[in-house]
């Protein structure tokens, strides 16, 4: 596997999380608009709850690769704290392998869901937002997260430490 391609994963993960953040800002603005309409102008925005769920749902999936990049998926390091760093690094690779499987299964099922929703023309109840777009977006986020975890198993991304705070 060519290493340079793996280097692309980091900017991709960052870009996806910015997209996710913008989606959330969109939800934020949409909610304000909807509330003004509902409480002051007697013109409620139809399907605002759906848009919130869809927007945040897509954002959450797009956030996954960056979280995996930073190894922010929380784990218990109490029992292995005294082991040599090399042992812990090996354990972390095994952990990333399991995370690859987790993201992989979820991403695959989301892709499957996208195809099924596209063929069945599934859509959200009130505004008819096509389900396949949501599934496809989740498929992208989860698949990139799976690739990210795989790259960590293979030792192809530089390890980084940063805390959310």
């Amino acid at each position: 596997m060519p290493a340079p391609n793996m280097k692309l994963l980091e900017p991709i993960a960052k870009t996806l999380s910015i997209l996710g953040g913008l989606l959330m800002v969109g939800v934020m603005l949409m909610t304000c608009y909807s509330l003004i309409g509902r409480n002051f102008l007697q013109s409620p925005l139809i399907g605002d709850f759906e848009l919130t769920a869809i927007g945040c749902g897509m954002a959450m999936a797009l956030f996954m690769p960056y979280c995996q990049l930073k190894r922010e998926n929380i784990m218990v390091d109490f029992f292995t704290a005294r082991m040599p760093a090399s042992t812990n690094a090996k354990l972390d690779r095994m952990g990333s392998l399991l995370m690859t499987a987790l993201y992989g299964v979820l991403g695959w099922r989301a892709g499957f869901g996208a195809v099924r929703a596209y063929e069945g023309e599934g859509a959200s109840m009130l505004i008819g937002f096509p389900d396949w777009i949501v599934y496809a977006c989740m498929c992208v986020g989860l698949s990139v997260a799976a690739l990210m975890a795989l790259a960590q198993v293979l030792g192809m991304v530089a390890e980084q430490e940063e805390h959310a705070a």
Binding site: V27, K70, I74, L98, M138, H163, A164
Partner: protein, 438 residues
Amino acid sequence: MSPMSLALLIFGVMLVLMVVRVPIAGAMFVAGTVGMILQADLKTFLSFTNNVAYTRLASYDLSVIPLFILMGHFATQGGISKALFGFAAAVMGRFKGGLAMGAVLACAAFGAICGSSVATAATITGVALPEMRRHGYSGRLSTGTLAAGGTLGILIPPSVPLVIYAILTEQNIAKLFAAAMLPGVIAMVGYMIAIAIYVRLVPGQAPEHDEAPRLTAEALKGVVPIAIIFIVVFGGIYEGFFTPTEGAAVGAAATFIAALMKGELTRDKLLHCFYATALSSAMIFMIFIGADVMNAALARTQVPAQLAELVGGMSIPPLAIVGGILLLYVLLGAVMDELSMLLLTIPIFFPIIMKLDFGMSAEHTAIWFGIMVLMTVGFGMLAPPVGLNVYVVNGMAKDVPLAESYRGITPFLVSDTLRTLLLLFFPGISLYLVGVLT
């Protein structure tokens, strides 16, 4: 395989994986997968996974979590904290240990717009720690105060752990927030009392006299944006103008505007808000998904339901059972992350609690137990060996050894324990505002 041995196997797989550093979400997912395939087949498992990501990620009720997290990060990056601490220090400055009390007050006020204890601790530490050190507060007392004060971020609404409890137990978020308000204020006052006693008992931790900044109109401005945001968000929720999820979106927008008006929200800081929101929300949602798979596998064994029947039929006083569960939380919280602990155990313990008779309505029991659980979560953020808040604050105080910081939280752990007992024996304290506000 008998249902009991299956349930034990699922738990066993999860525990083994967790011990060897597998992320908790992954450990729960793998254990649940094994359990489901053993009880049914691969096809059942796969059709279950078809929707698990979609239902959890694109859920209106859960959207409240990332929105509150985003709001917290806007507040953190928006430069609100410096003026806030100036105000708090001016209010409390006249007392001995006043700057430490001011830090607690600042944490409490910041906690009113931020739902995370780590973010609250880190934000207030950034502005308060240098000031406290400069005025001669010991490393022990200043880091201990800030780590403990940080837990006010979750004890005072909004609170991410409380939202998670509400979702897991299908309770009303607004009512739980109302229930958390008085206990949150009690926590703040309790911490201040702890400081007052500590600086008198242990000499050399705080200066004899703080040069208290005066409470001027200028200082008062420090608290205005936060007060407005809090009143808009919670006023709107309790007056019925909007749902908690909408409240979180409005709060995020208002905090965003406040940060823009401060002129501190640069492009880089905005991106940082997105990244930080990505990290904490993706982490939480992955645990949700892992816990879903695990709990579905466990529920199939029927063991959790039988356990609830069994415990309900035993002649142990209900309060003793709650006490036992809380004690178990303190122990579990010592080694594992508090949010994962809730997602793992609430589906098992909550049915047990609801089968017991506390002389309250089912809803009141659920709300009161939620507040009790929240108290242990706060405790777990401080208690050794892994008190996340202590780590974060200590990491920002380069010259203070970790052992000193742990020594510094002792008075606050005493205060936590007393408050937890108070709320355990007097549910009315938590339930009072629920009746008034909703």
